[in-house]
Symmetry: none
Subunit: 223 residues, 2 copies
């Protein structure tokens, strides 16, 4: 799950980011409307957490711009204001939820999760390919009922590939799914590393990861 946090107060933003990251979400931080626009132009998110007061304008501008291009990404507004008008106008502009400061980070986490749940509508069915089964609910991959021993990164990578089985996934695309911008210093060959590990653990499953030189990787069943 990919989250954009738009908040100018550094400490607040980081606290939130740490919390959500622990919860398994990949977070990007934007400190202003401008930055937010940049991020949103480049990357799509599952949920946007949006502060109203920003140094270069109101957060509602970001929301408006988003909705103006028919982007339905769930938005959670943060506000120090107590005014009912502000809340109402935020909701009218297409915000999906709001939270007034100060708030319990636990509550924020829960709301973000709720928004995502509402949006994705509980699409948790088992994926199959070859002798391999991937169960999103159990967070596990099995072969003939035997559970594959995968680490967190390996599992999310496999999930990405399974959901796009047969399609060529560029290294950048996989990178986006695995890391957040905070992991900015992570090299691209980290992907190659996890591909290699996955390949080893997938031997005998009737599933292989093909390398498409210069293009990316592709998961497919062996004939």
């Amino acid at each position: 799950m990919r989250i954009l946090i738009v908040e100018d107060a550094q400490d607040m933003a980081e606290a939130v980011a740490i919390r959500l990251t622990r919860a398994g979400m990949a977070c990007d931080l934007a400190g202003s409307c401008g930055e937010a626009h940049d991020f949103l132009a480049v990357q799509s998110y599952d949920v946007v957490v949006l502060d109203i007061n920003l140094p270069d304008g109101m957060g509602t501008e970001v929301l408006q711009a988003l909705r103006a291009r028919a982007d339905r990404t769930p938005v959670l507004m943060l506000t120090a204001l107590f005014s009912v008008d502000d809340r109402v106008s935020a909701l009218d502009l297409g915000a999906d939820d709001y939270l007034t400061k100060p708030f319990d980070p636990r509550e924020l986490e829960a709301r973000v999760r709720a928004l995502h749940r509402r949006e994705s509508g509980q699409k948790a069915e088992e994926l199959r390919l070859g002798a391999l089964r991937f169960n999103p609910a159990a967070m596990s991959a099995t072969r003939d009922g035997a559970r594959l021993d995968l680490t967190r990164r390996e599992l999310t990578l496999l999930a990405l590939l399974m959901r796009n089985a047969g399609k060529t996934m560029s290294k950048e695309r996989l990178y986006q799914g695995l890391f957040s911008f905070d992991d900015a210093d992570v090299g691209l060959n980290a992907i190659e590393l996890y591909i290699a590990r996955l390949r080893k653990k997938l031997t005998g499953t009737g599933v292989v990861i093909e390398t498409q030189r210069g293009l990316g990787y592709c998961l497919r069943a062996t004939p």
Copy 2:
């Protein structure tokens, strides 16, 4: 198991909450339709106990709103009214069960449990894994007929794991089931603590709790 109790009569609400809490359920209390909506926007519940008479409207509104967004959470209606019409309309709106006041708290507890069992697709009342047997109604776990001496939290945690045996349960997921919003300041490592205690008490039962670093915990029978 996480329960939302929507009831404006303070004493009644608390009595129910205490009863269910003792039975190992994590309860949140809402005193009005508005509060109920807030809770439901943020947290998903296993069962909602819903009074019909609320200060700011009818409980059925909450039910309607819930079903309107395709939320199938089991709802148990409480009503002082004796009218058959009310019961019928409640059931038509998607309530799963109802109880007329005054009621025996034991009956409420049993019905809540039944609703949850039905929803989660559990066949038998008793759950078995390895040499371990768990009885949700009696809140007791036995091994070869000998009762394991578990505390309330330990039992609740075991219940969660037994119901999802074989699935990896994230620490956050377990947290949601164990604690209510009133326990807001409880840290995440409380989970680790109870896992450790449970593990000790489960030695010899043919059941182990596996740690999946960064992912969560998984209960399974030893081969």
